[in-house]
Symmetry: D2
Subunit: 138 residues, 4 copies
Amino acid sequence: MSEYRFFHSIEIRYGDIDAQRHVNNARHFTYMEQARSKYIKALGLWEGSDFDAIGIILAEQSCRYINPIQLESDIKVGVRTVRLGEKSIETQYSIQDSQTGDELAVGQATLVAYDYQLRKSIPIPDDWRVVIASFDDI
Amino acid sequence: MSEYRFFHSIEIRYGDIDAQRHVNNARHFTYMEQARSKYIKALGLWEGSDFDAIGIILAEQSCRYINPIQLESDIKVGVRTVRLGEKSIETQYSIQDSQTGDELAVGQATLVAYDYQLRKSIPIPDDWRVVIASFDDI
Amino acid sequence: MSEYRFFHSIEIRYGDIDAQRHVNNARHFTYMEQARSKYIKALGLWEGSDFDAIGIILAEQSCRYINPIQLESDIKVGVRTVRLGEKSIETQYSIQDSQTGDELAVGQATLVAYDYQLRKSIPIPDDWRVVIASFDDI
Amino acid sequence: MSEYRFFHSIEIRYGDIDAQRHVNNARHFTYMEQARSKYIKALGLWEGSDFDAIGIILAEQSCRYINPIQLESDIKVGVRTVRLGEKSIETQYSIQDSQTGDELAVGQATLVAYDYQLRKSIPIPDDWRVVIASFDDI
């Protein structure tokens, strides 16, 4: 596990830029969320339209800012799972310049499998476990 | 009907400011939406938590920008209904400097009563009609 | 002048979806802003990074909502100029399903040429006038 | 240093709510940013309007989610500095229910003093150091 096997390109919006004239710090989490949702969909874990069916919630996340992201930047976000606990999924993110591959920010998020009917965390479904472990070779 | 009887104060967020260093033009619609949701709640037409119960959808809206809104501005948004059609509710908005009363922007939105179960527009419920007409004296 | 000659694709973000589970109404203006900024750049009127150089401000804008936009929708935004006044630029927008071409929303915005140094509106620069009139055949 | 001496109330906006029908996870960072900007202003470190004068940048931040925040929640954000390095300021955040004091989320951010003219990090100005240390008793 040393590389990202999944990347999703993000188009920076004019509205993402704040008064400091680079991407607002909270948008990095929006970018990671967007890439994560595409990763989950690419792995076949969510079909993309039933919002009551997404069995994951966010327990914790962080971002380390390396370089400001400019409006004209061309970026992609790498997503990978690095560890599967009983109920938790540890994911990492790398926001990169698509041209140079330079890291502009790195992030991390702990997801927890969740049953929206029972309103409590649940063990990661076996089929999720198999698909994720296989995709990211963990 | 010449005055606003309902005002809601909005705290401008650092994140509302764009690269031009004033409030981004799309945020005016967020401010109007926020004030409208408080107006609807104040009139007792929505209790504030059941998202499948809100019987209104937005058919059309506009905003005219008079003066840029700064991060340090202290603003309030006036909301009023100016006309009740069979299925539509015509609303107007005035974004004002709370100190001076100067208008910074004015807006308008046409709302339509909607049945989320039937997935179609419906006549405005009579109790809504009575409450709104009474409040805004139309 | 009956067609759009410029289209820009927008990727809908998970974060664009609101409690009603479709794209929040204010985001339509973000989409139009984004498409407009690409249109302005495509026409060579702005190079994309000097925020003090954008000589336009927004005087007024509106949106008419035709169909809700879903997270999984694949959309593009058409932008065109329909009229050049002495100081104002009338633009129109069509948010369409990229697959079917169905209109999901239409919008309109009045832009005004602006001198950030003098802090006042100015006549549309002649080179802008030529480029826009030629591109949109008006 | 066991309590927060600074709190800032946040009004949750309808537009902060996502498809899961609670506050979107990225908004927690917007709330922390907003509270931080008010904290910095309250301490007299920034006057609130000169965006080239803010001598701090964000090096890293995180959030741990304890309970979902609802549209109808009444919240406040505690901000405090827990450590002053040579160039860095370690801050913590507590997003609380204003009624019950229950923590809904906790966060942390590392700020770095920055000279926008020289474009590099700088030692924390002595007057900042005195004001912050005194306010938060560190």
